[in-house]
Assembly symmetry: C2
Homo-oligomer: 366 residues x 2
Amino acid sequence: VTKKLLVLPGDGIGPEVMNEVARIVAWMGRKRGVAFDISEDLVGGASLAVHGVPIRDEVITAAKAADAVLFGSVGDPKWASVGFDLRPEVAILKLRQELGLFANLRPAKLFDALAEASTLKPEVVAGLDIMIVRESVGGIYFGTPRGIETLPDGSKRGINTEIYTTSEIERVARVAFDLARQRGNRVCSVEKCNVMESGLLWKEVVTALHARDYADVELTHMLADNCAMQLVRNPRQFDVIVTGNLFGDLLSDLASMLTGSLGMLPSATLGAVDEEGRRPALYEPIHGSAPDIAGKGIANPLAQILSFAMLLRYSFAMEAEAALIEQAVANVLASGLRTADIMSPGMAQVGTTVMGEAVVRELDKL
Amino acid sequence: VTKKLLVLPGDGIGPEVMNEVARIVAWMGRKRGVAFDISEDLVGGASLAVHGVPIRDEVITAAKAADAVLFGSVGDPKWASVGFDLRPEVAILKLRQELGLFANLRPAKLFDALAEASTLKPEVVAGLDIMIVRESVGGIYFGTPRGIETLPDGSKRGINTEIYTTSEIERVARVAFDLARQRGNRVCSVEKCNVMESGLLWKEVVTALHARDYADVELTHMLADNCAMQLVRNPRQFDVIVTGNLFGDLLSDLASMLTGSLGMLPSATLGAVDEEGRRPALYEPIHGSAPDIAGKGIANPLAQILSFAMLLRYSFAMEAEAALIEQAVANVLASGLRTADIMSPGMAQVGTTVMGEAVVRELDKL
Ligand SMILES: CC(C)[C@H](C(=O)O)[C@@H](O)C(=O)O
Ligand SMILES: CC(C)[C@H](C(=O)O)[C@@H](O)C(=O)O
């Protein structure tokens, strides 16, 4: 059986870093005999430019038919005035929603070789390894009513709605508890239950599910504002964090920046396993499209490459191959190569392509 | 004219740290001939215990009649099951809303003497001085519909609504622009306009107001997730940040933790100036009720004392007296006294009372 992969490079540095994944894919075919059936398409601003929409229905259809989607990043200031429904970001939001990708796994892991890149003191972040599980198809991102209304006096009113149901909360909490069992066995559930009823329900549902099915896992609760503080004060107190879409957006970006190497971090977004045992999944770097450095050949391709490793592990159970890629990346870093975002004194600064080639060279040695 | 002050110590460490403000008030009477007409009342869990509600209507009335409110903190796990409408936090939320306190000013300023308390590297935070202006009577905190519904199948649905209108956005943005003119002249407006229409309106309104009345101030825009990252990556890029209620809650806690001295930071929440030139205002520390250390006599009273200094400055134009208090606090720190939260090697650890007394002693010397 061939592995059907849909590749969506997107905007900004997306296509550049995706090019480097192509080298890894080629290596896998050459050296490990793994064949992928790969198709590629446009999303985001890149799709807008050609098709007038941020994502076409046939891309959604192709994503549903694929075994896994490898996504770059979307967002481009060029399209700032294209209108809310046509903005590049719709591409990733629609993919999450249409494929039912409800669990966004965002690791914030410190790479030992890059410990000095963190703005936090080494003794605060050494060994940091947090997994944030963010709900990704609900909450204020998708709730209705939403929109901008014009009032009789000509002024306006912007509205968004946060909604969470018992089942939406349960399914993502299950993912968090299951992951915790394979890690530090601790889950911290984060909401704002002292202000929001949706947060209160979140806390109640997680508490009940824990008592019912996961009493062996340690569960704590934290308010979102406190969590933002605690991530700065003492990030190593966390193992798995589970939270809603909006808090997860902020807290996972914050957590990954603690490692000082945002350009290094991959993510997975998973849906539910269907009757045939298939599980929709999308893999993308945590970083965005970085329009300021796009086209300069200096972007760090490692997060995109590590996203591909995650894809091999979670979607195709190719643990050995995933581990090979991760080891190759570790070896490249150990050899002193650095892209600009993770550069430090005494290291050798290289561009996107040289970094990608170096990973392949290290793979050859393994 | 006497200055009418309403003092609301609240829960946890609130009453303990407020006791130390009483010393400062006494000193002001003794040495500067400043008389305050002070009344005190219960709020939060303390009010629940006696009156069965987190805040009584007569406390709201007294707050409206006062020239300024000095608030401690509310929140107490003891009342976790009291029901959403009776939770201690309702006290501060109601005060903000009923008094129309729409602009929550939250400075994140590094105290030179405490530079080593930050978990961030000194070169990243030295001289940090950010002012976050958080909208505090709108957004998802107060929007309706809200609540928890039970669905036909017995499962539940939690709902909250984020609403922002043109005028709500304009008035808080004005506060931010006006403050910026007295500082670094830069405002960064933070929303999530790539996902939320309320954020899109926010950005449009701030942009239009800027062009109309504040073109001399530098304005930038940032997505909330990026802001959370940038606060960790390079916090000194910010001067004034203006944002909505929920983002402001997280980002201001995060920003203040960057200084390593959350227990040191005061805040002001201001309303609109009325026809008689009066402006409702409430002052409170950024830290919460800290139930884990309540009653132990170890809480840091300096944020509460500095909140009183802010009160003197903003509500009574007593700049000299405010500056005296701030200088006394700086001198106490320079003398090496530290409460547990800001303790570091070589310093002298003291409790709440000794710290309060030390501030008065330094005031005597000034
Ligand atoms: C691009 C944007 C819509 C997206 C989000 O807010 O979810 C991004 O910030 C992310 O976190 O994946
Ligand atoms: C106590 C709570 C309701 C409050 C808030 O969320 O506004 C607090 O966190 C704050 O920031 O002042």
